[in-house]
């Protein structure tokens, strides 16, 4: 059975999410939801020397939102905070390898929004408009 957006890799991350759960001593926690469908993502970050040392996520929602958040945790690990701040929508879509279309794009971007919220929160900086508009 083929499906355009439910590729095996997305279903695999949805069924077996990587980096799922809690960090023992996170430096920052961030959480947000997509009001349209009620998807929830929480990210916990361990930050050391301006870099993301470790990350876990928790959440509830559709396959796109959960798989995308899980893939994102693998990508941001080891990145500097500035690198995370500059990540874009395209980076996430490249990770997923699909174009979820205009109605589902917000599901795909929820994880990115939350990880950025965490970074901005850790740095004590105001949330940029770009981040607010992701979802």
């Amino acid at each position: 059975m083929s499906s355009d957006i439910y590729k095996d890799i997305i279903l695999d991350y949805y069924r077996n999410p990587r980096n799922f759960g809690d960090l023992p001593n996170p430096d920052v926690r961030a959480k947000d939801s997509n009001p349209l469908c009620g998807d929830i993502i929480e990210m916990q970050l361990k930050i050391n020397d301006g870099k993301i040392e470790d990350v876990r996520f928790k959440g509830k929602g559709c396959a796109i939102s959960q798989a995308s958040a899980s893939m994102l945790t693998e990508t941001v690990k080891g990145k500097t905070l500035d690198e995370v701040k500059s990540m874009s929508k395209t980076d996430v879509l490249n990770l997923l390898g699909i174009d979820p279309g205009p109605t589902r794009i917000k599901c795909a971007l929820l994880g990115l929004k939350v990880v950025k919220l965490g970074v901005y929160g850790y740095l004590g900086q105001a949330i940029s408009e770009e981040v607010k508009q992701l979802v």
Binding site: S3, I5, Y6, L11, C37, G38, K60, C62, I64, P100
Partner: protein, 414 residues
Amino acid sequence: MVERLTTINAVKIREDFPILKRRVNGKPLIYFDNAATSQKPSAVIEAISKYYSEYNSNIHRGIHKLAEEATLAHEEAREKVAKFINSNRTEEIVFTRNATESINLVAYTWGRANLGPDDKIVLTIMEHHSNIVPWQMLAQEKKTKIEFVKIDKEGYLAQKDIQEMIDDKTKLVCVTHASNVLGTINPVNEIAKTAHRHGALVLVDAAQSVPHVRVNVREMDCDFMAFSGHKMLGPTGIGVLYGKSEHMENMPPFLGGGEMIREVHTTGASWKDLPYKYEAGTPNVAGAIGLGTAIDYLRKIGMENIHEYEKEITSYALSKMDQVKGLVTYGPRDVRHRVGVLAFNLGDIHAHDLASIMDEEGVAIRSGHHCAQPLMEFLDIPAASRASFYIYNTKEEVDSFIAVLEKARKLFSP
């Protein structure tokens, strides 16, 4: 077994709806999102086009030919609406934008003038947000109490709550005629009797019933009724508020402006008679004409026939859905007590994922909370998918829909 054969020929009816020829993602469109909005027959599209190309004009005040024709068509639409719901007075029919605006009109006018801190509004847990939020806004302003009638396991309103909650403090009971999630057809006639016995008025949200079953406001004896044109083959942007003239005459106006005034002076203004008092500004003339044409179309088929056909297709869909492993439906099992709105969940597949898979196959269904979050909370589900039928849907389409359900189930099974 004898089956009642309906006179509806869906295949023939489909020819009247140009959009049904469309393909979506390379597949024939299967439109199962009728509870959100219905598709439009050519007759409606042409009536709107004819108005704009032949007699477009502002109404009521012009002394020229076009204004006369447009006014006549607009008022003729009002008569069609009145007859359709068996009101014998056209002044009881107010045109609004949609059911939501109709309900807000009552909240802002009757509600503000009549409710206070010692009063109570009774709602039900299955109301659409449009029949909850206006009352919450009003209750906050007037410190009025709100109580919600719950539902039983099958999705029927709890009789005990109805009897206990509607008391002498109750000034208004707001109830949906048919639920946009459960499909339940509520016993509004009995609820109106109970409410009236306690001196309360009744507002019926008929957005999901007027398009599908015969509705008779005089038999129902409701005080107000709200519905939308776009769910009953008409255009968007036109809705109806029915209100008994004994209430409507004494309520203050809703929006102020042109069309609704008798006289305006620097010292104040006086209002027109019903229904114009509640229709400020240039109305949606094309919308009203389109709605009138939609009513002609529905009457030609016959509301009894429509109801019978939808029972048949709903019953067929329910029996097929029961065979899909892990599928749960919500609402009454007895199709005599429900409309063709089927909310469901399939295993732990999120409703949005299911809707996406459906869309890939050209099947349009709804997913989410369906603007009924209190009901979702009560059912303890974050979201649900919903398939809803109309006269142009066929059993073959139901079969295709079932095949996609099976596909989704296999795709998501570990």
